[in-house]
Amino acid sequence: MAGRSMFQKIWDDHVVADLGDNFFLLHIDRHIMHDLGGPAAMLDVKQRGLRIRNPELTFATADHAISSAQGRLGTTETGIRLLNGLRAGALAAGVRMFDIGEPGHGIVHVIGPELGLTLPGVLLVCGDSHTCTQGAMGALAFGIGSTELVHVLATQTLVQPRPKTMRVRFQGAMGPGVTAKDLILHLIGTIGAAGGSGYAVEYAGSAIRRMGIEERLTVCNLSIELGAKMGMVAPDDTTFGYLKGRRFAPTGALWDRAVAHWRTLSSDDNAEFDREVEIDVDRVAPHVTWGTSPEQVLPIDGVIPDPGAMVETRKRTAAIAALSYMGLEPGKPIMGTPIDWVFIGSCTNSRISDLRSAAEIARGRRIATTVRAWVVPGSEAIKRQAEAEGLDRVFTEAGFEWREPGCSMCLAANGETIPAGQRSVSTSNRNFVGRQGPGARTHLASPAMAAAAAIAGHITDVRSLDVASWSVA
């Protein structure tokens, strides 16, 4: 008999009822609400004459619509209304909210792991597609829509079809200047933006095992850009070490009991997956996107593709539209493309290790006079940690703007946008048409690549810089 995958084990633990036809009623262990969806959902629950079934399993924070300017100046009237709506709704329902300015506040997918709310084996949902990020803790975590959100609040369950399973093994060691972001962008470029559609993806392999939690979070974050609603990494000593002592993690005898359970969650050796993919990590270079889908991605030393050379009509049509929107010429190297903006932040790459990696590039250098560059930490705790390490000064001395935590220019829901026609290198997750503002042109890359681009004033290979930590083999 085939063993069970980690996905299957966690799924089975949460089945409240088998509804037939591959649909299941699942228990939700953790639910995090944000300012965009939370207030309306809580109102909807009330209007339907329902109540929040388990307020102790729901948590709230404001991230999408708040300004990232110092002092939160510039939060729109709507943003303030949403923030107040979330506060009032959470207070009335007995939901724990992490308000702006207090440790614990930040981007939903940053604070879940940071607070120890997102534990191995939990089933966690949030009204945001990048909830897959939190699968890095060894959890089943996925994004849901507004109606599903009301369903969760009212019943602490959700009706879901069971996805197929895929395992992606990242084997080998990352070269200097190569990051978790490059691995996942490379995977998306290899199997496509719908390659993971219908699958729960488990990331495994020697490169994943060697990664810290923050890098794993970056990998899992882009699962949805692979088309997969869920991505996850088996919990191990790295996970337990990260969680121990966090604010909401279990303690004492309960901790030991939890860890014993968590150790059983890894996929069995004889588990079978519906699809297996293997990536040779040694050959992966830093990556940057050139188009308007994350699958339109290149190694930094690559040339902008020529649609004329593409065999499939639909790929050609998509490439022509993307190049026109992006204002790029086929056949030219992507390196050297002049940029106007750099955004370092988002649930993909705003954690302390991301900021350290960008700061290492920025230290003692200056950004190009033609570039405006923002650093937006993922949470209040990260912001304070970075300031304690002096990273904020490294950034500001190099000409970057140091801002308050939130989603900011990743999705431009708070009014912070890249102007039309301007080009940004962004550490976020989506290069969609208009994502960072109507007409804005986005190139996705790692924090180190983004910092290097800010300094050069154009897209550049971070490996061309002299970086101290890389020479220590």
Partner: protein
């Protein structure tokens, strides 16, 4: 939720792959939105309007007779990207009731069912065949999407079968939503939690550790 049974209507081809939810509706149109009725104007905004705000004549839903189509013939990975249910609401506001595509963004796909919109998975070649029947008479031929029989009928009457999971199909046919049904399962939810509290007590102890 309105039931969906059989729909015979104009179908518009929008065959590009990876039409994402940011294209379907920009996030700032949803921020603080309290009424769906204003969303139709912004649906497919990035494709539907030129930078000066005027209609893009090249965009299919700006062309006669596709304007007001109730069926969309789409490319792969339609609705990929964000979880925003506003993407479905915006499409409903311009009258779309069914989308036929080779694949869908998964969260978008789920959101359709919550709103009585039918997402149908058909292989690309079938969709292209239907489009090839539409184009010679400029889209005047009507397409039928029959959920009861799980069949799509092309303008010339060619049939294509599709499958919708039983649970979803019945809910659409009857116009039922999951919330009402799950509330009736309160007893099994309570039993599950009671058992789970013994197995995994740490899940339910969400009080902060005091240092």
């Amino acid at each position: 939720m309105k039931p969906f049974r059989v729909l015979t209507a104009t179908a518009a081809p929008l065959l590009r792959d990876n039409v994402d939810t940011d294209i379907i509706i920009r996030i700032e149109k949803l921020v603080g939105m309290t009424d769906h009725s204003g969303l139709g104007r912004w649906c497919f905004g990035a494709l539907r309007y030129l930078p000066d705000g005027s209609e893009n004549p090249e965009f299919v839903l700006n062309q006669t007779p596709y304007r007001g189509s109730e069926i969309l013939l789409a490319g792969a990975n339609f609705g990929c990207g964000s979880s925003r249910e506003g993407a479905v609401w915006a499409m409903m506001q311009i009258g779309l009731k069914a989308v036929l595509a080779p694949s869908f963004g998964e969260i978008f796909y789920n959101n359709c069912f919550q709103n009585g919109v039918l997402p149908v998975v058909l292989v690309r070649s079938s969709i292209e065949e239907i489009v090839s029947e539409l184009e010679p008479d400029s889209g005047r031929g009507l397409v039928t999407v029959d959920l009861e029989r799980q069949r799509v009928l092309s303008p010339r009457g060619k049939e294509y079968s599709f499958e919708i999971p039983g649970l979803r199909r019945e809910a659409l046919l009857e116009g039922l939503d999951d919330i009402g049904l799950s509330l009736q399962r309160e007893a099994v939810i309570a039993v599950h939690q009671m058992r789970d509290r013994k197995l995994r007590p740490w899940i339910y102890q969400t009080v902060e550790v005091q240092s």
